[in-house]
Amino acid sequence: MSNGVGEGGRTQSRESQGKRKLFQGSDFAYAIARMAVAQICESVEVNVYQESQTTREGLRFSSFQESALDKLTGVAVQYVQSVGKTAKLYANVAGRVEGNSLDVVQALEDLGSGVGFGGVSDTDRCLAGSSVVKDVIRYTGEAEEMPFVYALPRFPISKEKRVAPSFYEVGVEPPDEHIPVWLPAFPGTKSCHISEEANAGAIEVEVGSKENGPSLPSIQHSFNGGGLEVLKSPNDVRKSTEGEEEVEGNPFLTAPLRFVEKEVSPVFGPVELSINHVPDKNMSNNHRIPVLEASTPSDDINKENGFAESEDGEKKDGARPQQTLLRFKVGTLKRPSCLAIKRSVQEQGWFQEGGDKREKKLGTERIDLGTVVSDVK
């Protein structure tokens, strides 16, 4: 039990490390902040004064522990957020929505009050002349200017939401009176089929040309409802198309299957049974498989009633020459059909009307079957 707990802890720490490697939830801003903090740490210098003070060497950090860098980035991010929160608070207290420079100065003072800064004990100090600002001014003067290494796009990038077209835009009348024209169209309207076709076409095109950057925006335009501008970085284009592919490939949104009769492959029974019964071909009732024999007593009954049914209800394909075509007979009593049944037990038609014709066909078939049987023999 203790081993299990230990192992669970280990896997948990591995997972947490894996997540940390992904910058705490794949946060783009966090990754940028990490790089900026690393740059600042690199620029920090401690001057080492020698005994004779002839030379002055600057010691810098050469490398970081990854966990230490993560912690420092987290602290820096929280610092910025605290400054923002406090500045917002002071602005709201003063009855304003937008922040002021003095709000920011006050927020910096609040955060710096733990460490202490010059003049914090003065009661009538002016915010504009706060020593926090002076410290910042001095830092700006002393530290070397080091701009961020990468050029950032404007972020966070907002994705244009694909708006569902309204009834008016599609040109379809709403099904009921109470539905206004400006509402989005129902998923079942013909516009949706059109869009689905377009999506299907787009999926094929996208699957074919996944690598092509310039073709993707054109595809998006083809099924965007109303010519929405797509101004994104390539990453976002890929992301959005992937998301749209997911939507298009969603099986729950595809059209339902139509009711169609599907051809099923015929089922063939064992061949030995028919061969055994070949010598019995002369007998009208016995040159079929024993299954039919079981139905003969019922035929006798049926003769009386004029009502034919197969005993076991088996349905066989007429394509097999050795087997008979069993059909259910649902219906009324008819004398002529009785006679037809008498002629051949096996020739039982689905419908009484076409029964005679079918019997004639089967009669010819029987002759053929007889010839086939002789060949087999």
Partner: protein
């Protein structure tokens, strides 16, 4: 009244200094990009259309991080270096040879090697130094020293069930 006038003038001066600084911020590019700071400020609810204020926050954050890093660097430097016993580590590079000679004339032999080793030492930002530096700023960072696979890790092998 005089005091009032003087304080009024001082206030004007302070205002002027602040506005001058804000104007000069447009020339100075802080290391932390503006977009990033604006993102986090917006996340916490601070609305401001003025770029200079965002730059002010960026520079203040940069100063804070630099202060923490320099404190950590001091802690790292102040830690006593490991005593050198291996002769291989006494090899000098050409650029610091003259420096070593200078040091030998004034200090103890062991101390020289220690100081020399310090000059050549690669400073690494570790969690220990960082937690010591951040403690002064009111941020408590506790880092576990090691992770154990199981409660019996590190115990006597005789007592372990295996």
């Amino acid at each position: 009244m005089n005091h009032g006038q003087q304080s009024g003038e001082a206030k004007h001066e302070d205002d002027a200094a602040l506005t001058e600084f804000l104007a000069s911020l447009m020339d100075y590019t802080p290391t932390i990009p503006d977009d990033l700071v604006e993102h986090y400020l917006a996340k916490s609810g601070f609305q401001c259309p003025d770029v200079r204020l965002i730059r002010l926050v960026a520079v203040a954050t940069q100063k804070f991080v630099a202060d923490v890093a320099s404190d950590a660097l001091q802690h790292c430097r102040a830690r006593p270096a490991p005593v050198v016993k291996d002769k291989k580590q006494q090899k000098v590079t050409s650029c610091s040879f003259s420096f070593l000679l200078f040091r030998l004339s004034t200090f103890d032999h062991v101390m020289n090697i220690n100081l020399f080793f310090k000059q050549d030492k690669r400073l690494v930002l570790t969690m220990e130094d960082l937690s010591k530096a951040l403690r002064e700023y009111g941020v408590n960072v506790k880092h576990p020293e090691y992770f154990a696979d199981s409660p019996s890790t590190g115990m006597d092998p005789a007592t372990r069930d295996e």
